[in-house]
Amino acid sequence: MLLDALLLQLGYNATLVAIGAALLGTAAGITGTFLFLRKRALVSDAVSHATLPGVCIAFLLMAALGGDGRNLAGLLLGSAVSAGAGLWCMNWLTRNTRLAEDAAIGAVLSVFFGFGVVLLTVIQTLGIGRQAGLEGFLLGSTAGMLYSDALVIALGGAATLFLVLLTRRPMTLVAFDPEYSAARGLPVSKIDMLMMGLVMAVTVVGLKIVGLILIVALLIIPPVTARFWTERSEHVVLLAGLFGGLAAYSGAAVSASAPNLPTGPIIVLMSFVFFALSLFFAPNRGVLAAFLRHMRFQRRVHLRQGLLALAQGQAIYEALTLRLLRRAGLVRADGVATERGRARAAKALRDERRWEVVRSDMAHEATAALYDGLRDIETVLTQDQIAEIDRRIGGPQEVPA
């Protein structure tokens, strides 16, 4: 069943939802990356909650004018207007009062959302214009998604992606170094506004699928996940799009594979799966990698300290050090150095001196930066350079390498 869903074999509506979700997930991941890099991720939460009053007011207006209150384009337009108002309030609060951004986010988020819920309740008691389904905007509802809805989502997502492609350089520059950007004459506040506008567009487009409460997850989790895998912002952007798209697509498929599984929350859980996998298994930044690195590092420290102690004829008391030396065949069971142990110890001591020279010489600065007390010097310098350093140190040259 799940396989069928993943392969788009579950019928028209499921296919429509899966494709729409994948597009939305990609657009959200990519847009959210810039917000994440700018360290303003939570602004998106306020923006999304601020959409609710707009949705309700748009519904009331359309119903009052005798139209279909549930026209998606109309509702999205209303949500965009009220999200924009929320954003404006937030900017005004941070700029003109002593409130910090986090406080402004809290204030705007709760007030707009509260107002929206009141309107929603009023609409339900009025009982006009087939209001059923309006609360689907809270957590998303894909059951009755139409082809035209999917088209709105696809077009909105594509337009957002195009704008991101066009403005990725200024947005990255502002995210990294706003002061420098301002000094170069970049309109920093306009670029910030654009960034927020794009986030707003994604939010509005995504209301139908994941709903306004959870859209923030689609904007933030993918970039955070992507960050585990790379040290380059361009790659964070691309990977966030990929993770976002995959999570949304697979989440939509999973929810279609069984009755009564909510699409939005499942998509969020799928992106959490990607996040958790990355958190543990990503190279370099992952938890597992960090743990292994620490273990390896600890062993090298012990081995090195043991060798230096041997070279200087000091006693070794630490059990781990002795065990490591013994296992490497550098000391005998009674703690006396073997032939090979003595040679390695002498080299360790010699390397220590060589490193001292390297670290005191500006010409070797890049190399010196690699010094960690452990690295074998021949992995960072050529034989000629080492010979040159040895000439400077003087003393016996016959140290076995």
Partner: protein, 271 residues
Amino acid sequence: MTVELASIEGQRPDGQEREQDLSKSPLSIRGLTVTYGEKPAVFSVDMTVQPGQMTAIIGPNGAGKSTMLKAALGIVPPVSGRVQVFGRPLEEQRARIAYVPQRASVDWDFPTRVIDVVLMGLYRELGLLSRIRGEHKARAQECLERVGMADFAERQIGQLSGGQQQRVFLARALAQGADLYLLDEPFAGVDAATEKAIISVLKSLRAAGKTVVVVHHDLATVAEYFDNVFLINTRRVAEGPVAEAFTEATLQAAYGGRLATTQVSQLAHKA
């Protein structure tokens, strides 16, 4: 060139002569006031930077050194004041200015490599969509070489030491190929090797006819590194060649009781 010791009442030297050298000055500031809340950080400051020379902006902590620079560049909005760059309005001359912000003003865990930061200096040439080509990379690499960081191009910026970060920022400014260089505390908390590298790059810029303005905190090196000083303590205290404006009287006026009298006379003596 004369030294003026601006009086507290804000008396200005006669405008005639000064208006003329405005057109030549790489950076001229008139009546600049910046406030945080209602407390002035910089009050009615005039400054005329001399072309092709190195100028230090000095003053005690909280005297408005960095704020003045930021306001001159429009990073911080001033309450009042007029800024001209090479005799023209700031906005027209942005391309000729390279600014080096304080190292601590950015997050060094940002996902980017050293070479990418330097390429930000080429932002204008790159435009919005064109791809980064080999020639751009080569130019960035050359700038890294000038600050002694050629071997670090591919490193993640988070792996750099403070001094190395500072040099990467300088390399980014060099990549712009500007005529006026404004640096905010480039020597703060850097190692001796970095300080040497930076000062030699700045001197080579001066030799090439560029103008350099540095917010500086180390009074001991002022005489050795700079041609001119600008002393500020919210208001302008003095401005001119080091030998004339960096004196016991001006230091006393700028720092007040914050420097011991013996220190002041020693420093001034060096100059």
